[in-house]
Amino acid sequence: MKEIVLEHLEKSFGDHKVLLDVNLTVDKGEVISVIGSSGSGKSTMLRCINLLEEPSGGVIRYKDEDIRKLNLSKYRAEVGMVFQQFNLFDNMTALENCVKPQIKVLGRKRDEAEKIAREFIEKVGMTAFVNARPRQLSGGQKQRIAIARALSMNPEVILFDEPTSALDPEMVGEVLDVIKSLAKSGLTMIVVTHEMAFAREVSDRVIFMDGGVVLEEGTPEKLFGNPKMPRTREFLSRFLNG
């Protein structure tokens, strides 16, 4: 079943065309990694899917419906996002970060919301820190809470925008482990990442973006093992050889 479909997605900032013509179909439960060089439009694509950016052209469908026709709050509750910079609410504890949105957006009762939040906080291994404030947490801990916050909304899809790029190397693993465990849970995920080993291990499909289009896509074996396009080969060899 098709979960998210991008048809001829375009996005410009003024005269600067960032996304030229992006076409992509994501099935339910699929885990997709998006790779590509800096400035190729990966973040912009994710932000368009979440409507943090208004597309300049084309259509985005969620379960066959044009997302511009959906209730924005409800849609975003179903299609969550995890940011490179975490974006936890600085005025709330870790637990409250996961509870407040459930109460305000989904209308859940506090008891229920807390129970759900605690479950996911446990799942990301952060139970000891439920009452900590974001500024008291390390980057990896913040990102795990951010993931728990997204999960607490019981989303169908989570978009990850370079979830480990702002982390010190020793914390990358703890966050990737959490994402890996989610990949097996049936959640639909689109992960923009520079962690090639991770992309290879967890994805059903890898997308290579270049110059505002999806230049090549395929299974990890195909894309990493036998890339067709010269640009893809160039990118991968640059990446793998440092």
Partner: protein, 255 residues
């Protein structure tokens, strides 16, 4: 020595006047500051909200923004004493000479004047909050209004608290201009006392000291309050990132 005796005599004889004046000054400046903050929050939120895609709403929003900008410019660019006269006598002019009741008029003038300053303070506070706070809120489905209410404004309030305290102190001093319309605040009371005893220097010395005591204690109390607010968040936690056994449970914060 006679000076101190005279001071003592004034205090003894006129303390009910002075206390009443202090009470009125504190009442008007406190309510004026709070109401000004509310005006600042409302205008700040309106001015930092992105324009709607709906054409009609966008036009209305732009007009409202324009009105707010004019309000801010006028009230920051003219003396409160003149504003007091224009509002008070303007009302009388338009209502066949009937004047506003004094205390509400004083509160209104201080509020609307403070609001113009608070508008800029709050807007600065909102703009200085990281854009990521909004995006985090949007990403879980919060509306712009919810993001403001639950995520941004609480952070803004904490950040602008020193500026708000400062406005309060300014208001304690500046309510003295309300004597021009006859509000019975401390400075006005001094005039009444002098009318009876003719001891101008002695009376104003007392009033001067009283103003200082008010501003000094308010500043100290608010600074203590700020410290308390910040202190609660600043304690560091320990706990190793790699070794879960070293994690330390953080005590529930006092609510």
């Amino acid at each position: 020595m006679t000076f101190f005796i005279q001071i003592w005599e004034i205090l003894k004889e006129f303390y009910p006047f002075l206390l009443k004046g202090i009470g009125m000054t504190l009442l008007i400046s406190l309510i004026g500051t709070v109401a000004g903050l509310v005006i600042g929050l409302l205008t700040g939120i309106i001015r930092t909200t992105p324009f709607s895609k709906n054409k009609l709403l966008r036009v209305i929003h732009k007009i409202v923004n324009g009105i707010i900008a004019v309000y801010i410019e006028i009230f920051r660019g003219t003396p409160m004493m003149v504003q007091a006269m224009v509002i008070f006598w303007g009302y009388a002019f338009m209502n066949d000479g009937q004047t506003l009741p004094l205390i509400p008029a004083g509160i209104f003038i201080v509020s609307i004047n403070t609001g113009a300053y608070m508008a800029e303070i709050v807007r600065g506070g909102i703009i200085s909050i990281d854009k990521g706070q909004f995006e985090g809120a949007y990403s879980v489905g919060m509306t712009h209004w919810q993001a403001m209410l639950y995520v941004v404004v609480p952070q803004v309030m904490r950040n602008i608290l020193p500026s708000v305290s400062n406005e309060f102190v300014i208001n304690i001093k500046d309510t003295s201009v309300l004597n021009v319309i006859g509000v019975a605040e401390l400075y006005f009371m001094a005039g009444k006392i002098i009318y009876i005893n003719l001891e101008i220097f002695q009376t104003y010395t007392i009033v001067c000291v009283l103003y200082f005591i008010m501003t000094f204690s308010v500043t100290r109390i608010l600074r203590l309050f700020e410290k308390k607010l910040n202190g609660r968040e600043n304690y560091t936690i320990c706990g190793s990132q790699s070794d879960p056994a070293a994690e330390i449970h953080i005590k529930e914060e006092a609510k």
